[in-house]
């Protein structure tokens, strides 16, 4: 059933929303088994316009609106995938994926294992997630840990338009179910994007900025802030390496540990609440595997342990450059001053 169209490899000035749209269009073009559905993804093109134009171009049979029910969307996607299709579904916002939680944890994550590998569920669940866009309550959750703690799911999140394209194409190609977390506050940032997914892989972290004194580990919406912080840290004499995890599950320990063994210091940065947040796993694994290399404890810069705040208070919750710089200062430099040290 697969149509082998020419692989796209354009470069273009694009937003992340635009890159995701291109990824969906290219996947729909290349593989007839791919379907796109969810709430408002058809005629409207999605509330973030990520599916803009797809229904018109590929027809209502392949890109369509469903009744308003998230368990229904994921549950029927599971049935479709059992029958050989490759659904890419959208949950309109992070907190609105929760009604589908049972379908995700008890079926999507487990069906391959339950059937000894006989039933494969190549489904992508796209979830615009996180805050920073002035959204009201229930529109800003960073829900990654609910998925990363669930064995059987892959969880990925892009931080740039190019990577959004590559990751989404690979997610659609993956034989495993993928929770695809789109950092909505990065939807509209532009980049001259390379639209190619052949060179990249679904489960590797990437060094976005090389450095020697410490390692900053982040992903998704917080990555941009982390890069800014690294630039600011440079001014203060710290050479920070920045790693973009991309894949949250599985976690690319090799790439991260290699960096931390070199630098001896690490800070994990994310928007989600700290308590039992993703940073805990990163810190635990680094503490275990790099114990004798660490000059200071692995620190976490994360959202507070509170429900996501209202728009006019969210700037206090979201980790900003200053909070990351503060954490860098706390990395016990006294005994071994860095290059341009504090």
């Amino acid at each position: 059933m697969t149509t082998f169209a020419e692989a796209p490899s354009a470069s273009d000035t694009l937003t992340m929303a635009g890159a995701l749209n291109r990824a969906l269009a290219d996947a729909l073009t290349e593989d007839e088994r791919v379907l796109v559905f969810g709430e408002d993804v058809g005629t409207l093109g999605g509330v973030f316009r990520v599916t803009d134009g797809l229904a018109a171009r590929f027809g209502e049979a392949r890109v369509f609106d469903t009744p308003l029910a998230e368990a229904g969307i994921v549950g029927t996607a599971i049935g479709m995938a059992m029958n050989g299709l490759r659904p890419v579904v959208e949950m309109q916002f992070d907190a609105f994926a929760y009604p589908a939680f049972e379908q995700i944890t008890s079926h999507l994550a487990k069906l391959r294992n339950r059937t000894h590998g006989r039933v494969e569920l190549p489904i992508v669940i796209r979830i615009p997630y996180g805050g920073g866009i002035g959204g009201v309550e229930h529109h800003c959750d960073s829900s990654e840990v609910y998925y990363t703690h669930t064995a059987g799911l892959r969880v990925v999140t892009p931080s740039s338009p190019s990577d959004a394209y590559a990751l989404l194409r690979q997610a659609i190609d993956s034989p495993d179910p993928v929770i695809f977390l789109e950092p909505k506050r990065r939807y509209w940032e532009k980049e001259t994007a390379r639209l190619d997914h052949r060179g990249s892989t679904l489960d590797r972290a990437e060094v976005r900025r090389p450095g020697t004194d410490l390692t900053l580990i982040s992903y998704g919406g917080a990555l941009g802030t982390t890069l800014e912080a690294a630039a600011a840290a440079q001014e203060e004499g710290y050479s920070a390496e920045v790693i973009d995890l991309r894949s949250l599950s599985p976690f690319d320990l090799d790439t991260v540990a290699a960096s931390v063994r070199r630098t001896g210091r690490a800070v994990v940065v994310h928007e989600a609440s700290r308590f039992c947040g993703y940073g805990a796993e990163v810190a635990a694994q680094l503490s275990e595997t790099c114990f004798h290399y660490l000059e200071a404890p692995v620190l976490r810069v994360a959202g507070f342990d509170i429900p996501y705040p209202a728009p006019n208070l969210e700037q206090h919750h979201l980790p900003g450059v200053d909070r990351i710089l503060d954490a860098i200062e706390r990395l016990q430099w006294d005994d071994s001053a860095p290059a341009g040290g504090a």
Partner: protein
């Protein structure tokens, strides 16, 4: 199967056409089972709708001035929004959604407190226990279950209080609506479900939402009487909700009401409805305007004259002006509030995080 057998349960079915007491042209429609509210009530409904629409227009204007982050307009739905609320007794409770700010204001909550959410200052800005109004609910259909639980608790406590829950046509597709209707019917809870079928769930039209003859046809599947009502006829909505509240209060259980109306504006100011529907469709519904309809009826009967109309308009205008002024005052938010209400007492971790933030803000001030 005989016709008699089929009829056995069919008293639970709604009428094939929406019940109306006042037609679109303002003329009365007699109904054997439904009484037209008296002149005073009709005037209250009229006044409430005028004020509701003025509030709605003002809120939309505030989004343009950057004073509200977002606003989902209920323009065109005034008969359903106001008709339902005015049928409640003081001791009853309202469980509204994000779209029902107008109804919450009509219930007596301070409009500035109502708009706290959409202004972005906090989540629910009012005290639910003051006017018996639950927080406006965003996760669709979840409030239906709260209403059922609340109503059942009233019964357990021996209190005479009915819960009215508002939901949209889209929300009827969620599993929670099903569970709420079922729990309510099994428990015979004093709750009234008022579905505002405004034709759309954001961009998705009713035809993609359900294949049912009407949403009210769902009632029989729970053993619950259901009513299909013209949602642009405030008199009919009021009468129907009042009947349902009375039934519930008398221990006769829940009712499902579908009010057929139309969302005249886009889903919110951030939406662009021209992407998914024709102007012609909107025009048709504008011609069925709920306020014009009741005005015609009242004027024809001499219940509304120019003087009264001016007074009503002036009052709505004054309220809107006050709202505008008050919304123009910048609020001062205390970031420490972020940590205060997560638990009854902040945990050690939260106290520490609060201290960190305070330190950060103090340093920031000095910098």
């Amino acid at each position: 199967m005989t016709t008699t057998e089929r009829a056995a349960a069919s008293h639970l079915l709604p009428s094939a056409e929406p019940l109306a007491l006042i037609a679109a042209d303002g003329s009365p429609v007699p109904d054997p089972a439904l009484e037209l509210p008296d002149g005073e009530v009709l005037l209250r409904l009229y006044r409430g709708m005028v004020a509701g629409r003025r509030f709605d227009t003002q809120a939309t204007a505030l989004t343009k001035q950057g004073r509200l982050a977002v606003y989902p307009s209920a323009r065109g739905q005034e008969a359903a929004e106001i008709g339902g609320i005015l049928a409640l007794r003081p001791q009853d409770w309202l469980f509204p959604t994000y779209r029902d700010s107008m109804a919450v204001v009509a219930r007596g909550v301070d409009p500035v407190e109502v708009l706290t959410l959409l202004r972005g200052d906090w989540h629910c800005g009012y005290d639910p226990y003051r006017a018996n109004v639950a927080p406006q609910c965003t996760p669709l259909a979840t409030n239906t279950l709260h209403a059922v639980g609340f109503a059942h608790a009233a019964r357990i406590k021996g209190e005479d209080s009915v819960s009215l829950v508002l939901l949209g046509d889209g929300a009827t597709s969620e599993g929670d609506t099903h569970e709420a209707l079922n729990f309510a019917a099994v428990w015979q809870a004093p709750v009234v479900f008022l579905v505002q079928n405004n034709g759309y769930a954001i961009s998705v039209p009713l035809a993609k939402q359900t294949a049912a003859p009407s949403l009210a046809h769902k009632g029989i599947g729970y053993g619950m009487p259901s009513v299909l009502v013209d949602g642009n006829d405030a008199a009919a909505v009021h009468a129907v909700v009042e009947q349902a509240v009375a039934r519930a209060a008398a221990g006769e259980g829940p009712t499902l009401i579908e009010a057929v109306t139309y969302r005249v504006e886009s889903h919110t100011n951030a939406d662009d409805a021209t992407r998914y529907r024709d102007r012609a469709e909107v025009e048709q519904w504008l011609a069925r305007d709920p306020i014009a309809r009741l005005k015609q009826y009242l004027t024809d009967r001499g219940l509304l004259d120019d003087a009264r109309q001016q007074e009503i308009d002036a009052r709505a205008e004054a309220e809107a002006a006050t709202l505008r002024e008050r919304m123009n005052v910048d609020t001062e938010l205390d970031p420490a509030e972020l940590f205060r209400h997560v638990y009854a007492e902040p945990t050690a971790a939260l106290r520490q995080q609060a201290a960190e933030l305070t330190a950060e803000l103090t340093t920031g001030d000095q910098a």
